[in-house]
Amino acid sequence: MVEVTDVVCSLCGCVCDDIVLEVENNEIVKVKKGACSVGKAKLLGHERIKSPAIRENGELRECSYDEAIKKAAEILYKSRRSLLYGWSSTVCEAHKVGVELTEDLGAVMDNTASVCHGPSVLAINDVGLPSCTLGEVKNRADLIIYWGANPAQAHANHMKRYSYVSKGYWTEEGKKGKKMVVVDVRKTMTAKMADVFVQIKQGKDYQVFSALRAILRGHEDVVPDEVGGVPKEQLLEVANMVKESKFVMTFFGMGVTHTGARHNNIVNAIQFTRAAHLHTKASIMPLRGHYNVAGINQVCTWETGFPFAIDMSRGYAWYNPGEQSATDLLYRGDCDAAMIIASDPGAHFPGESLKHLAKIPVIQIDPYANPTTEFADVVIPAAVSGIEAEGNVYRMDNVPIRLRKILDTDYLPDEEILQRILTEIRAMREKEGE
């Protein structure tokens, strides 16, 4: 039995890096410290895709890596416009090969932010993002706002490690010295812990942000008696808490990005933060879902200039989310093959988009079977990053952390699978050129 420390969790955007494991006979037998229940379940392992496979007559036939990789390369090589989608649950080293492959094919590359914090990225395109690392929150923040997010269930270690419950330099009393405001449409587990719970009407985030902005900028006279289901007195109370705080941190989730005014909600959330900054130190951060969704945005940006929904068919990067984003591309039937890596559109895309995805050849690269596997034509199992493969990831605050390799495996890492597909495609092109 070997104890392994400083293990980095490859589940959610918290990227906890203080996990302690017990490993025996190339198997994780116990999670001793650090992980939440969901992270623990991933570390202890579950059902894997056993073998590479190719769909024939509606059934997946097991095959070798060589055969599956060759078939995948053929599909992409023959395609006139392919979609390479996913990327958020793998490492940056794989992302880099993905961008190269996209460029080589003149394909469209999109990632799960597109159906997640894509609206947040659009807002950052628009106004920027006043933010900080999570350690800043831990050491300084005396007022925490969770808006349209339920970390108690979705990012289970978030409050303990980084925000309301954590202890830091100026926050040595932990939650005793802090206040927490939760804004949501229903009383979630997180809301139950809050000092103030602001229950807003579905889809009224924009209006509530506007009201708070108005108050913080000295225009409370224009705020009506009730905004988005929130009484004015409560808005004044929250604004007052902001004014009296030394450091206010707002975290927001899908409840803000996908309701009402969508990306304009986030623009307004950021404008609220700017207004708060006139009175105190104020920062804001999206609660990113996958452990490396921030990373795929980073890699795409430094390599192509743009964070997601990148069309390389012109030979250079073209960015127009809403047109080149995966769901829209599929909805219009505007691609003739797809490679899905480290994600599951089968479970998350709108039905109309999935109809087209089910029609075209689909390659799936993933350690685990999921609804996408049900219609994938080539299935390539991968090593689990953070357990069987190492690599760089970006936490939700864009702090880069290196995943560790804990166990040996015969599964290939994503990076290698992609590199081999790219090599095959280049060989095919060279052969045709002859």
Partner: protein
Amino acid sequence: MADELLIRNGVVYDPINGVKGEKKDICIRDGKVVDSVTNPKVIDAEGRVVMPGGVDIHSHIAGGKVNAGRIMRPEDERKGVEPKTKVCRAQSGYSVPNTFATGYRYARMGYTFVMEAAMPPLAARHTHEEMVDIPILDNAAMPLIDNNWMTMEYVKSGDTDLLAAYIAWMMKATKGYAVKVVNPGGTEAWGWGKNCNLNDTVPYFDVTPAEIIKGLAEANEKFEMPHSIHVHGNMLGHPGNYEMTKDTYDVVKGIKPYRDRPTMHATHTQFHSYGGTTWGNFESKADAIADYINENDHMSIDLGSVILGDTTTMTADGPMEYSLYQITGRKWTNHDVELETGTGITPFLYSGKVSVHTIQWAIGQELALLVKDPWKVALTTDHPNAGPFIGYPIIISHLMSKKRRDESAEAMHKAIFDRAALPSIDREYDLNEIAIITRGMTAKTLGLHEHGKGHLGVGADADVAIYDMSPEERDAGKIQKAFLNTKYTIKGGQIVVKDGEVVATPPGRTIFVTPECDDKLTDEMLVTLKDKFAKYYSVTFNNYPVQDAYLPNPYEIKAPWRSS
């Protein structure tokens, strides 16, 4: 493939070796400059200007803040798109180009080394990930070690040796090159939305920025560090800051450098040479700063010269970017980094129709022209803060041509004639001086001349720029054009640019410094540092240092502890 190359009959400017425009052959074998060659491939440089590869001392090209600038500015990315070629990856961006474009464009200007100016230690992996993706250029990065709680605590207690041990550990942990200082104390204060003057007390830490700078300069000289501390002082960009700038320079006066180099490099000095008390009576004080540099030998500076047009400003000086954003009301990104530093980013348009911008534009060039010894001056735009690096040839053409400067001044705000000195300066740089401020001085100040950079002596890296111009050329437009796209750029003996086109994209090396520190001292320092990790950092001590995997092409420089 020929391992030998002969550059024949070029007019060579190699200031480190005292070569000032001599007709001379350059022999190259296996990536190095050699005495002679036997069976070389020949490049005919007849009558053209030949210089060592350019060495940029200060440019923001890689890492979290550069990428945050890109994410915030899709409109800037759209500006610079160029399709992929057989050799080159797709390019995007103007003031914040993607990594590939960064490598290609620098190489086309004849540059072969660029120093990333500010690396937040906690995000060092990010800087390295991007540097690996910048083709052709050798590179290095300077970790920010000034607003760090460890630094301030050791400065307060006066433990210079322990501070040195901390610097050594950080340099190794980040694979960094030199100690970077950005608004010391002020960026920590920005954690609470505040800022610091040079002699203010940093909130909660009971030290002053002046004490931080002095402490770091003393600790830096405990080692044989190739570079001095590299300082962005307090109150950057504020009217009337020139007095504080001089006071900052005075702080390190008397500290003896380990070898013949300055004790402090003051960066983007243009932003620190402001007179007046408001934006209304804003004026150039480049003369006062230049006088100081002329009278003292412990300082070097780089210009931070302005390029007119739109750009993206970015710095670890969070409060400065906030002030700028409040002036313009444009986009603003901020990213404070726990226990260490911060980041601010906002777009900015330098307009020749605005008095303040016009004076800023003049100041950068005044500094170059008023400092008598070019070995104290480096050409920079603090890319992309005063303008993108792609504007260097514009500055070169202005420094070399009084006529060009007068033409530009005529078209700009008239404030240039009464609140700046530029129109009254007649000096013109010659090519030897241009070679000094773009490669000789920068390589020497960084200590890279001892590692093959910035010169063409035997044993040097075969990094060569051949410009398609005669040394007699006086036409500013033609000079600018020649410096934008080389006839040839050779990197490590390989032709990477030919006739202005990138023809090969070998990977660059990352150069880093390993200060060597006594184990006992390190152990004592680590007790304090590990406590910081246990209580205040959001990552563990063991997950913090940059792993070797991030430097596929490393080049290590050891900096021994000085026995004295």
